[in-house]
C-alpha cells in the first residue's frame, strides 16, 4: 500500500441481520484518504456514513472486504488504531456534571496521557478551541457549539495523526458551524492532521479536498468537489415559471434539456450547451416553447451548479443505470 494513503477501504461490506431479513448498510465501498487531506463522506441520513466510519474504526465488524487506518487493519489492530486516531461520535456524551477541564482530563487519562504531557497539551488545546475562559464551566451548561468544540478537544488530547468526525455540525447554528470548520482548517495547517468528516450538508463538501458521495450504501462518486460538479453534463439554467406544473412538464420535452430539478417555486434545468448557440440558445428555446403554451418565465439566468444539484443528478443517473441493468438482465 502506498504510504501516503492513511485511510483505506476496499469492497467494504457491512450487513446487519434483522427480524425482517438482512440489511446491507454498506454495499461494496472503495475509498482512500491521503495524508494531510480533509475528506468528506457526504450523503443523506441512512446512506450508511456512520456504519462505514464505525467499520473502518473497528467499532463494528465488517462482513467482507478490507479496511485499514495507517496500515493497521480495522479488525485485527484495533488497539493500534485507538492510539493513533481521534473520533467524535454523532451522539457523543460528555459527562454533564464534569467541568470543561475535568472532561478533558478524563479523556486524557483514558488515553494514558502522562500528567506532565497533560499540563503541556491541555491549555494549548483549550486555547486552540477558544475554550480557555470556560475551563470551570459544567459540561451541561455549554451551548451546542461549545459542546462540539469540547468534544473536538477531547478527541485531540492524545495527539492523534488522524481524526474522524461523525456529523460534527449536526444541529449547530451557522456561526458555530463556520467556527468549527475554521478550527478544522487550523488543525490541518498546525498539526498536519488527516481529517475524515461525515456530514449530511452538501455545502460542507466545499470545505473538503476530496469527498465521497454516499447514497443507499454505495459511493456514487469519489473525487474533488470541483471534479464531481463537472461530472454533471451541460450548463444550469434557473427561472420562475408563471405556472409551475405545466412548465415542469413542458420543459422536459424541449430539445437539449438533460434534466429538470425543482427548487421551491423555481425550476433548475440542465441543458446541452454544445449546439444551437450554447446555453443562451437553449434559454431562448425554452422561453419560446413555454410561451407557445402560455407559460411565462421570470428571471431566467445561468447559475453555477452547487454540490446539491450535482448530487441529485448523480443519484438519478445511478437509479436510471440500475433500472437499465435490471432490464438488460431480465429475459
Amino acid at each position: 500500500m502506498a504510504s501516503d494513503i492513511v485511510i483505506s477501504a476496499r469492497e467494504l461490506v457491512k450487513q446487519f441481520k434483522t427480524r425482517a431479513g438482512t440489511v446491507t448498510a454498506v454495499n461494496g465501498i472503495d475509498l482512500q484518504v491521503r495524508r494531510g487531506e480533509t475528506f468528506g463522506l457526504i450523503g443523506p441520513d441512512g446512506a450508511g456514513k456512520t456504519t462505514t466510519t464505525r467499520v473502518i474504526l473497528g467499532l463494528l465488524r465488517r462482513t467482507s472486504g478490507e479496511s485499514s487506518i495507517l496500515g493497521y487493519d480495522s479488525m485485527r489492530d484495533t488497539y493500534a488504531i485507538r492510539e493513533r486516531v481521534g473520533y467524535i461520535a454523532q451522539q457523543f456524551a460528555l459527562p454533564g456534571d464534569l467541568t470543561v477541564m475535568e472532561n478533558v482530563r478524563f479523556f486524557a487519562n483514558v488515553h494514558g496521557v502522562s500528567r506532565a504531557e497533560q499540563r503541556r497539551r491541555i491549555p494549548e488545546l483549550l486555547e486552540f478551541a477558544g475554550l480557555s475562559r470556560f475551563t470551570r464551566r459544567l459540561g451541561s451548561r455549554l451551548s451546542g457549539g461549545m459542546k462540539k468544540k469540547l468534544a473536538l478537544v477531547c478527541s485531540l488530547v492524545h495527539e492523534p495523526q488522524v481524526v474522524m468526525f461523525d456529523e460534527p455540525t449536526l444541529g449547530v447554528d451557522p456561526v458555530s458551524r463556520r467556527e468549527f470548520w475554521n478550527l478544522l482548517g487550523n488543525l490541518r495547517i498546525e498539526r498536519r492532521a488527516t481529517i475524515f468528516v461525515c456530514t449530511p450538508y452538501m455545502d460542507e463538501a466545499e470545505r473538503c479536498d476530496r469527498i465521497g458521495l454516499m447514497y443507499e450504501g454505495r459511493l456514487i462518486a469519489h473525487d474533488t468537489p470541483q471534479a464531481i460538479k463537472e461530472m454533471v453534463p451541460g450548463r444550469l439554467l434557473e427561472f420562475t415559471p408563471s405556472r409551475f406544473g405545466p412548465a415542469k412538464r413542458l420543459v422536459k420535452e424541449v430539445e437539449g434539456v438533460f434534466e429538470v430539478q425543482t427548487y421551491g417555486a423555481t425550476l433548475h434545468v440542465f441543458v446541452d450547451d454544445a449546439l444551437n448557440g450554447g446555453a443562451e440558445g437553449r434559454q431562448r428555446q425554452i422561453e419560446a416553447a413555454l410561451a407557445a403554451q402560455g407559460v411565462g418565465c421570470k428571471g431566467m439566468r445561468e447559475i453555477e451548479p452547487r454540490m446539491e444539484e450535482a448530487f441529485i443528478s448523480l443519484i438519478r443517473r445511478q437509479e436510471r443505470d440500475s433500472e437499465q441493468g435490471y432490464l438488460r438482465g431480465s429475459p
Partner: protein, 326 residues
Amino acid sequence: MRKRRRRARVDDLETPIVVENLTKRFGDFTAVDHVSFSVKRGEVYGWLGPNGAGKTTTIRMLLGLLKITEGTARVLGYDPSTEAKAMQAHVGYMSQLFTLYNDLTARENIRFYGQAYGLSRAELRRRQTRIIEMAGLQGRERELTANLSGGWKQRLALGCAIVHNPRVVFLDEPTAGVDPISRREFWELIYAMANQGVTILVTTHYMDEAELCQRVGFISEGRLVALDTPDRLKQTQMRGHVLEIQCANSEAALRVLRDAKEHGWLPLDEVALYGAQIHAVVPDTDTYKVAVTDLLAEQGIVVNAVEWIAPTLEDVFISCVKARED
C-alpha cells in the same frame, strides 16, 4: 352563520401575519426583542438564525402557546393571546420533531390529527384522500409510521399539520436530516400550498433552506437584523467581497493570510480554508486582488488563480451578525 363570516374574513386577508414590536422576556432575559414584520397572503417567508435566537419563541407566541410580554401580533386577524382557540382552526404547525405516532399507520396518523381538529367524518375522508395523494403516500397508507423513511415521515408530518386545511402554516426547522431529493419534493409541496393562498412561515438555521424562501429575515439575539429577498440580502447585507484563492500550497497561504489579518497588514474580515482553496473577505473590489496576490508571492507562494465569487446566504448572515457585534 358567525362561523361562515369568520371564514370569509380569514380567506380575504391580504396580510395574514402582522407583528409589531413583539417582545418576550423570561425574567431578565429578552428572548424576542421588539420584532416587527408582516407576511402577505400566499408568501413563503423564512426566518434564518442560530439556535437560541428566538425563532421558536416567536412561533410559540404567534400560536398563542406563550404569553406576549410586549407588542402586538395578529394571525388571520386573531389576537393569539386572547383568541387562540378560534385561531387554531385556521393555523397549522409542524415542529422540528415530526410529532407522529410511530405505532400508528400513516393513515391512522392523519385520522388522529383530523379528529383532534374536529373534522366531520365526511370531511376527514375527503381530506385524508387529498393528503395521501399530496404527500405521495399512495400504497403506503397502511404502513407503520416507524417503518417510513425520513422523506415520507416529513411529508406525512406536513400532511397532519394541514389536515384541517389551514390558511397559515408555521414550519419549525422542517427538513433536518432529509435527503436532498425528498427535500426538493417537500419544497414543491410548500409552494403548491402557497399558490393556493396559504401563507407559510418557516424557521431554519440552514442557509440552503432559507435560500428557498421568497423573503428571509435574519434573526440574531432576539432581533430582526435584516429582511429581504435572498438575492437582495446578498447585494445589501454583505460587508466586503469574497475572494477565492487557488494556490499550490493552500496551508502555507492560509498561514500567511492569517498572520496578515492578525497583524493588520491587510484588512481581511475572514480567512478560511475551503478544500484546496482559500476564501478571504476583503472590504472592496479595487485593490485587494492585487494586494493579496503580491503578499503571497512575496512569501514565495505560487498563486494559480484569484477570483471574486458570489457570497452564499450563510456568508451574508455571518457578515451581518458580525457587523452588529462590532
